[in-house]
């Protein structure tokens, strides 16, 4: 019965990849609902405000958000290249740009402070802070996961597990990039 056994294990591996892909999709649907709810709040505030930004507030400079957008896009791009070619270099560049994204966020918060926008200075600043903080919390989680992928690339014991990790982390990373772009367009540009 040896050949049949081998066949079964192969099926199990395929099924595992499928199951994990499915699970990650459900997780991302959940995360999108979290951000969607926050966006809903944002639009309600914005629609109900007579002027936007609210009186006494000025639209903040888009320099750092733009830097963030460019870096996270480059980072996602290099992850796609890594997924295609499986070269470690692409993964390193992707992670490096992820870290630069985080630094640009820190700079954004520093800039907001110098401009006198604190978390509790009105709804405009509160929204920007709460969105970026929530997003950044996910980014930190994602950076840890990218570190884990780097760790795993060097020790690919279990091929199937490795596939699953690369796929899932990739989905999560692209998802966060997409959320950032939505934030960039709604919070900072328009």
């Amino acid at each position: 019965m040896v050949p049949e056994m081998a066949g079964e294990i192969l099926v199990e591996k395929e099924a595992r990849v499928h199951a994990s892909g499915l699970a990650m999709t459900i997780v991302l649907i959940s995360f999108s609902m979290l951000f969607a709810t926050m966006f809903m709040g944002y639009f309600l505030f914005r629609v109900n405000a007579p002027v936007w930004p609210p009186l006494g507030m000025e639209k903040i400079n888009v320099f750092w958000p733009t830097i963030s957008t460019v870096t996270i896009l480059i980072s996602s791009l290099f992850y796609i290249l890594f997924e295609k070619k499986r070269t470690l270099g692409h993964l390193y560049i992707c992670s490096a740009f992820g870290v630069i994204f985080m630094i640009s966020q820190l700079n954004l918060w520093g800039f907001l402070k110098t401009e006198g926008y604190y978390l509790s200075t009105g709804i405009y600043a509160s929204l920007i802070y709460s969105f970026t903080w929530t997003h950044a919390a996910h980014i930190i989680l994602a950076l840890v996961l990218l570190g884990y992928v780097i760790f795993k690339v060097n020790r690919p014991h279990d091929k199937v597990r490795f596939e699953i990790i690369i796929n899932s982390v990739g989905k999560f990373w692209h998802f966060l990039g997409l959320v950032w772009i939505l934030m960039y367009l709604t919070l900072f540009i328009f």
Partner: protein, 575 residues
């Protein structure tokens, strides 16, 4: 998507790997069961304190009163009263019903009923339980903070739940606890949905799944989509409370562009209405199966029942506005929400007809799980029908925030879910612990609970119709409500009866486990997959993954010779 065979690992040997940090879905299911029963008792005791205060305002609660409230000579003080009803609601919904119906039955039944050896992600499953424990501790920690636990109602509307309404740490802990519980529920939901999709035994199509699994499946889908909505609301509430933002504060309390207290209500009910179905769907599934099993005939219109669950799941996402008719919503919106809500009656009615159709001309066995299941038909019927008055704008304007609402949602969520939960416990007791509970005391438990709960919730609807508002510490300071004192006393006595009946259950439950009188493998004579293996279910459930050849409700087939049911692993017998 074909299913696959999971590896069998060795049995865990140490106490910790066996009972504490176990990967086994059966152990995790039981952990959830104990967790839920513990909180059920805590929440129930709180309910009795609330009832005592309403029936005998200013009188000390016997026995526990002096212990809990020494400063006021055993009388529940007003601030503690608000805390009690808040914690009662929160505990019952999130920490008793959710863990028992979804955590315990979901975990226990899914792999067994679909012919799998475990959940697809066992470690995620274990994490889900322990995160729920952390969440429970966070909630209970609120009770020992200086200003007490959360007291803004289970809905936690701002401004009651912001620093203005509740300055204590308790409300912050409440919000964090719900957020953490959301993470736990999400882990569970991901696991359940994926397991049901990828691990069904070969041959088991979606319509060959028992309806219990359909119920848990739909619940998990709603959980995965709507728990994060509440999560976002909690997150913003934590921002308001800890970092001084003003998302939910308007007017003079907010500076430089105010927030909006109503936003939280929207977010809460976008989650909150699906939550009602999250709680009831597993119960519906269990009852749909048990009615067929004990009427000894196939579930009437099983496919339609499953499709009704799906359509109710879908509809439940677009009706939340009926909770907010009194918030100056535009009439166009109220009418839309009213119509959409009414639409839910259609699948619900089909559901009911199917239940009655299952009973029709069955050779019914009145065992205790069956009694509880029939009880669910009655109480959910009442709960559902009274909901129509709350979904109708014109009547809701009068009934909103009265005890009518309290009676209604207790019929649907407390009574139905509780009875369905008990039905499940009595039914799967052999599979969980290898024993049967005492049938006689099970029936006594049913009748006393049933009388008690109808007294309580029917009484509440009467009181509400009479104009008594909910959340009043002492309604009888208002002269026009004094005529409702007898009704309230009646409700309280009924609640004592209902509470007392649960003592019978606890004794019966513990006694049968301790006595450990082994029962045969299939005491109920039912053909679903979990009954094809020994009771209690062995390590990794199925030595050989079963192959499914027929549906879950093949009972009373006249072509069957020596017994009146057939296992799902057997080819359908044709005459």
């Amino acid at each position: 998507m074909a299913s696959f065979e999971q590896h069998i690992h060795d049995k865990p040997t140490t106490f910790i790997s066996k009972y504490i940090f176990s990967f086994d879905h059966k152990v995790i299911g039981k952990q959830y069961l104990w967790y839920g029963i513990f909180f059920l008792l805590v929440g129930g005791l709180m309910a009795l304190l609330i009832r005592w205060t309403l029936a005998f305002p200013g009188h000390a609660m016997p026995i526990v009163g002096h212990l809990l409230f020494p400063a006021t000579n055993g009388v529940v003080p007003p601030d503690s009263y608000a805390m009690l009803f808040t914690m009662h609601g929160t505990i019952m919904i999130f920490f008793a019903i959710t863990p028992i119906l979804i955590g315990a039955f979901g975990n226990f039944c899914i792999p067994l009923m679909i012919g799998a050896r475990d959940m697809v992600f066992p470690s995620l499953n274990m994490m889900s339980f322990w995160v729920a424990v952390v969440s429970g501790l966070l909630l209970l920690a609120g009770l020992i903070t200086p200003l007490g636990a959360a007291a803004g109602g289970w809905t936690s509307y701002p401004t009651l739940s912001t620093l203005l309404g509740s300055p204590g740490v308790g409300q912050t802990l409440w919000t964090m606890s719900i957020f953490v519980l959301g993470i736990s529920s999400l882990m569970g939901a991901v696991n359940y949905i994926t397991t049901i999709i990828v691990l069904r035994a070969p041959g088991m199509g979606y319509f060959d799944m028992p309806l219990t699994i359909w119920g848990v499946w739909m619940t998990s889908i709603l959980n995965a989509i709507f728990i994060p909505v509440l999560g976002a609301g909690c997150l913003l509430l934590i921002f308001d409370r800890v970092f001084g933002t003003t998302f939910f504060l308007a007017g003079a309390t907010a500076t430089q562009g105010g927030g909006d207290p109503l936003l939280f209500q929207h977010v809460f009910w976008i989650f909150g209405h699906p939550e009602v179905y999250i709680l009831i769907l597993p119960g519906w599934g269990i009852v749909s199966d048990l009615l067929s099993f004990f009427a000894r005939k196939p579930a009437f219109g099983a496919k339609a029942t499953a499709m009704c669950m799906v359509s109710i799941t879908v509809l439940s996402t677009v009706v939340y506005g009926h909770h907010m008719f009194t918030t100056q919503m535009s009439p166009l919106l109220t009418q839309t929400f009213m119509t959409l809500t009414m639409t839910i009656s259609i699948p619900s009615a089909i559901f009911f007809v199917n239940w009655l159709g299952t009973l029709w001309k069955g050779s019914i066995r009145f065992t205790s799980p069956m009694l509880f299941s029939i009880g669910v038909i009655f109480v959910f019927g009442l709960g559902g029908l009274t909901g129509l008055y709350l979904a109708t704008v014109t009547t809701d304007l009068y009934l909103h925030d009265t005890y009518f609402v309290v009676g209604h949602f207790h019929y649907t969520m407390a009574a139905s879910v509780l009875l369905a939960g008990f039905a499940g416990i009595y039914f799967w007791m052999p599979k969980m612990f290898g024993v049967l509970m005492n049938e006689f005391w099970g029936k006594v438990h049913f009748w006393l609970s049933f009388l008690g709960l109808n007294g309580v919730f029917m009484g509440m609807m009467l009181a509400g119709y009479g104009g008594m508002h909910r959340r009043l510490y002492d309604p009888f300071v208002y002269e026009f409500l004094q005529k409702l004192i007898p009704v309230n006393t009646f409700i309280t006595y009924s609640s004592l009866l209902m509470g007392g009946a649960q003592v019978i259950f606890v004794i019966n439950f513990i006694y049968s486990i301790v006595k450990n009188k082994k029962v045969e493998d299939n005491p109920w004579e039912v053909g679903t997959l979990e009954w094809t293996i020994p009771s209690p279910a062995p390590h990794y459930n199925f030595k050989e993954i079963p192959v499914v050849k027929c549906g879950p409700h093949e009972l009373g087939n006249p072509a069957l010779k020596d017994r009146d049911f057939q296992y799902q692993t057997e080819e359908l017998v044709r005459g």
